[in-house]
């Protein structure tokens, strides 16, 4: 029966990440599927954020992601809708950017992560924002995430910078810590709220 629920949406031919089958977004008013891609420099904690969100774990010695890895997690919102996040956690090294389009193409959500202790990673985040504005889905929901917020004594990217940059680019901004789990669930809940709902049209 999965097909009978997904087909009508696909045949409406509406644009945008939620409806295109390739985006992995299936819109049934109550049960959304959302393709989400994490981008950002190497070592900013993309995999840790996903692991914290999906498994509730934190492993300080997690291994390098090669290519990309996939995890999914379903959350329930207060209005009793459920959202299944299909999360592509991409490799951070610069040259893997060549493969990134494979994963962000058709994504409904992009979470761009930087490390608040490293301005370099913040620059890299801006690169990703530009890249997505150029090549991503036009109505992609973008979130800018300053990770490692627990290391505030080593902070080098002021929160204000993140807020301003996010505002300028119509993104949603949050600082998280995968280590302490701070704001991790909030991040995904906030994303969920911002998703265009198929029922609203």
């Amino acid at each position: 029966m999965g097909c009978s629920s997904s087909l009508p949406d696909r045949s409406t031919g509406r644009l945008g990440g939620l409806n295109n089958s390739e985006s992995g977004g299936v819109a049934d008013a109550k049960n959304l599927r959302v393709k989400l891609v994490l981008l950002g420099d190497s070592g900013v904690g993309k995999s840790c954020i996903v692991l914290r969100f999906v498994r509730g774990q934190f492993d300080p010695t997690s291994k390098v992601t090669i290519g990309a890895s996939f995890l999914s997690q379903t959350i329930a919102l207060q209005d009793s809708t459920t959202i299944k996040f299909e999360i592509w956690d991409t490799a951070g090294q610069e040259r893997y950017a060549a493969l990134a389009p494979l994963y962000y193409r058709g994504a409904a959500v992009a979470v761009i992560v930087y490390d608040i202790t490293s301005p370099e990673t913040f620059n890299k985040a801006q690169y990703w924002v530009k890249e997505l504005q150029k090549h991503g889905s036009p109505d992609i929901v973008m979130a800018l995430v300053g990770n490692k917020a627990d290391l505030h004594e080593k902070r080098e990217v002021p929160t204000q910078d993140g807020i301003e940059y996010a505002e300028k680019n119509g993104m949603f901004f949050i600082e998280t810590s995968a280590k302490t789990a701070d704001n991790i669930n909030q991040l995904f809940e906030e994303i969920a709220k911002r998703l265009p709902r198929p029922s609203s049209t």
Binding site: S42, T61, K63, A68, F70, Q93, R95, A98, L102
Partner: protein
């Protein structure tokens, strides 16, 4: 490696036999397989030891005859195959004749006249003495090899023996190599050249710690590395069934024929000088010199897995570390590191090395975190190897994934050996894979997508429907060479074959095997996320490494390096276009579907593409190119000199994209239609089911009603029966009463009768009595009258008496009647006489 073995018992609960972390969900399965692994390990150590001893022995000998003994076995193998595939013989025979004719067989002129079916016999004769020597050294091998007279018998026995060694792959390989053999004939002299190489190689010092027994393999593999003739070592045997796996395309001529080989064996002693001269002429011919070696046997062993304690050295041998190594080069790279680091502080001329260094530092702690062997020293080694490689090949530098390769290699071998092995893998096997643009890696994904579409159309259809691109999953597989993607035993087994073959064929074969194994499960998934999760977790639990490797190697023999090269050529232009576009910041490919899909539809519809182009205008120009669009495209992307038609180029690119997009849309529309149809069918079926179930329900209701009614009726019946019984009983009682009454009535009637009778009697007697009374009265009257008559007669009293007489008569009538009657009775005679 040793370290991890020692730690095995301590860490077993969390880590596998190699010291790698196990995922919690896999611990149970790993334990189940641990014993299988152990058994397999024992078996393969035994086989490898046999093989190596045998090779080593022949390696040590300097005599040509000794080497011929090795050939003998290869020949035996070959012959066995040839009994099945006889057409393979033809080339052999002809080559045999050729070698005959070149006069190199003077040592055994008479024996050259032989049956082509039994070529090895001849050689045997010459080898007999030597085998006997060997027999004393290696008893178990001699069972196979010695005893000349029995050879023929054995020859017939061996096929059975070999049967379990999975002959199927051999057969197919053989078929493909018949062609190679044909080319061989022309290269005979080249082979002769190798004889020289062998003799020279004897002098080469072994640099690594590789045990001498492995030098045979090492040297043989070294021949793949480059045409360094001085490093070449002519190995002892030759087998027609070589792997078609040499790096260079044109190297397929490596396979050779037993007969030739034999000739060469013989020649070696006699014609050394001749060979030298021929060698000189052949070295430059750019052919990969192939060593004479039991490839088939080794291939079989490799597919069965390399024993743990040999793995490090065997891998080095496969990669050709010895040949690659340049003295002091590694140390030089490391020394350079410190120098440049200092200089970089001042001039920032080259940022790349710093970037690599930084990335390496980031990644070192994230490489097999917690592995017992990667302690502080292990990490230092890892760092040095990675930095040295980045310096060695700046066009690649450092790329994530290398850290895992280097880490794995360091677990198996010393640092510098690991470096050279890494160099071999990255520079040769994965050339262009991990560069800044990762072009070859992208090309391989397109190639893989084409292959998988070809092999599993249904699966890919389903994935298309779900919106899953194969490259999402296969990309990480390829880039990591399955490290962290499969259980370690499987990873190592795949690496065994991959390093042996010397190319990326095994990547494709393994990925296809995984798709074969898990495709059926994938087809059942309902959404993209489930499909990917399922495939990831299934791949991650592929503990049956033998099944995987054999499925990969035997199931996908058609996936050869030649085929892959061809496909890569086909797909590379598209990748280059994209890379170029990206670097320009163009948006050509934006928003449309996957590259691979694009190419797919593109290549399947060249005709329509041409049409479209023509309709676009500019006909004359375009038509001249339309016959070979791919060439044009590659020309556009690769060759910057084609600047004369920039507009046209753009147009072509744009049109292609447009075309691709349209084709893509069409394809997805068709897919959607198909899926809709299935869904509809499902719904219809569901509908029918619903109707039927409604009917069933209704009928059930009716049945229930009827049952209820039936029950009621039965109850009523029971009640009636009761009533009936009661009535019957009453009836019986009444009947009885009636009978009683009747009887009474009868009795009464009888009584009435009796009374009647009595009454009648009484009446009768009454009447009699009355008669009598009457009689008596009359008698009395008569008497009275008599008496009165008498009185009258006596005179006169009569008058008086008459007055008195009347009352007396009355009395008599009413009260004196009885007395009268009695008087009558008393005096009947008187009365009777008187009256009568």
């Amino acid at each position: 490696m040793e370290k991890s073995f020692n730690l095995l018992h301590i860490i077993q609960h969390r880590r596998d036999g190699y010291g790698f972390a196990l995922r919690p969900q896999h611990i149970q399965r790993y334990r189940e397989y641990a014993n299988i692994y152990k058994e397999e390990e024992e078996e393969r150590s035994y086989k490898w030891n046999n093989f190596i001893e045998q090779q080593a022995k022949s390696n040590h000998s300097t005599s040509s005859e000794e080497e011929c003994r090795g050939i003998l076995q290869a020949e035996a193998d070959e012959l066995r195959e040839e009994t099945v595939f006889e057409r393979g013989r033809e080339e052999d025979d002809s080559s045999d004749k050729n070698s005959d004719s070149d006069g190199s067989t003077k040592s055994y002129p008479g024996k050259e006249v032989k049956l082509s079916e039994q070529p090895e016999k001849e050689v045997h004769l010459s080898e007999e003495p030597e085998k006997e020597v060997q027999r004393s050294e290696q008893p178990e091998k001699d069972v196979q090899l010695s005893e000349e007279p029995e050879k023929e018998v054995k020859h017939s026995e061996q096929p059975q023996k070999e049967d379990h060694l999975s002959e199927e792959p051999k057969k197919e390989v053989q078929a493909s190599q018949i062609q190679e053999r044909e080319t061989l004939l022309s290269k005979e002299s080249d082979k002769e050249g190798q004889l020289l190489k062998e003799t020279k190689a004897n002098k080469v010092q072994s640099w690594s710690w590789t045990r001498p027994s492995l030098h045979v393999i090492e040297n043989m593999m070294s021949s793949r590395v480059k045409n360094i003739k001085d490093m070449k070592y002519r190995l002892n045997t030759i087998n027609g069934d070589h792997l078609p796996s040499i790096k260079e395309t044109g190297s397929s001529g490596e396979s050779s024929v037993a007969e030739i080989d034999k000739e060469l064996c013989i020649k070696e002693t006699s014609d050394d000088n001749v060979d030298k001269s021929t060698e000189e002429t052949n070295v430059d011919s750019k052919e990969s010199p192939e060593s004479f070696f039991p490839w088939k046997e080794l291939e079989f062993l490799v597919r069965g897995g390399v024993p743990k304690d040999l793995r490090g050295e065997v891998w080095q041998a496969f990669v050709g570390v010895k040949t690659r190594r340049v003295e002091r080069y590694y140390e030089g790279l490391l020394a350079e590191e410190t120098n440049t680091d200092e200089s970089k502080e001042h001039n920032n001329s080259n940022a790349a090395p710093r970037k690599w260094k930084k990335q390496i530092e980031k990644d070192i702690p994230r490489t097999f975190p917690g592995h017992p062997a990667l302690d502080e020293r292990g990490r230092d080694s890892l760092r040095r190897v990675l930095v040295a490689y980045a310096r060695h090949n700046p066009s690649v530098g450092y790329c994530q994934a290398m850290n895992f390769f280097a880490g794995l290699l360091l677990l198996l071998m010393p640092e510098e050996n690991a470096f050279w092995t890494l160099v071999g893998i990255l520079d040769d096997y994965f050339d262009g894979y991990y560069t800044e643009e990762m072009i070859e890696s992208q090309v391989d994904q397109l190639v893989f997508e084409e292959l998988i579409r070809e092999k599993f159309p249904k699966l890919v259809n389903h994935l298309d429907y779900l919106g899953v691109q194969v490259a999402w999953i296969s990309g990480p597989w390829f880039l990591s060479i399955f490290i962290n993607m499969l259980p370690w035993e499987s990873v190592l087994r795949v690496w065994d074959v991959l390093l042996f073959e010397g190319n990326r064929v095994m990547l494709f074969q393994t990925a296809l095997a995984l798709m074969e194994l898990y495709g059926p499960a994938l087809v059942t998934t309902k959404d993209a996320g489930d499909a990917i999760t399922l495939l990831q977790s299934l791949a991650g639990s592929t503990f049956d490494s033998s099944q995987l490797v054999l499925t990969a190697c035997i199931g996908y023999l058609a996936v050869t390096e030649a085929r892959l090269l061809q496909l890569r050529e086909k797909h590379r232009p598209a990748v280059l276009v994209v890379v170029e576009e990206r670097s320009k910041g163009g948006r050509v490919w934006k928003g449309s579907k996957g590259l691979a899909s694009k190419l797919y539809s593109f290549k399947h519809d060249p005709g329509s593409l041409v049409e479209k182009k023509v309709s676009e205008g500019d006909k004359s120009l375009l038509e001249s190119h339309s016959s070979n669009l791919d060439d044009l495209l590659s020309g556009l992307s690769v060759d910057p000199e084609v600047d004369s038609l920039p507009d046209l180029q753009e147009q072509v690119v744009w049109l292609k994209v447009e075309m691709c997009r349209l084709m893509e849309e069409k394809r997805s529309a068709i897919l959607r239609a198909e899926e809709l149809e299935t869904a509809l069918m499902e719904m219809v079926q569901q509908d029918n089911r619903r109707q039927l179930s409604a009917k069933v329900e209704q009928l059930e209701q009716e049945v229930a009603d009827l049952r209820q009614a039936l029950a009621n009726k039965k109850e009523q019946e029971a009640a009636m029966l009761k009533v009936l019984m009661r009535v019957e009983q009453e009836q019986k009682i009444t009947e009885e009463a009636r009978i009683g009454a009747e009887q009474d009535a009868a009795a009464q009637r009888y009584a009435v009768n009796v009374f009647q009778e009595k009454y009648e009697k009484a009446m009768a007697s009454l009447a009699q009595m009355e008669q009598r009374v009457v009689m008596a009265e009359s008698v009395l009257e008569a008497t009275i009258q008599y008496q009165s008559g008498k009185a009258k007669a006596q005179s006169s009293p009569r008058s008086v008496s008459s007055s008195v007489e009347s009352p007396r008569r009355r009395i008599g009538l009413f009260g004196l009647g009885w007395r009268d009657r009695n008087k009558d009775k008393d005096k009947p005679t008187n009365d009777d006489s008187g009256t009568s």
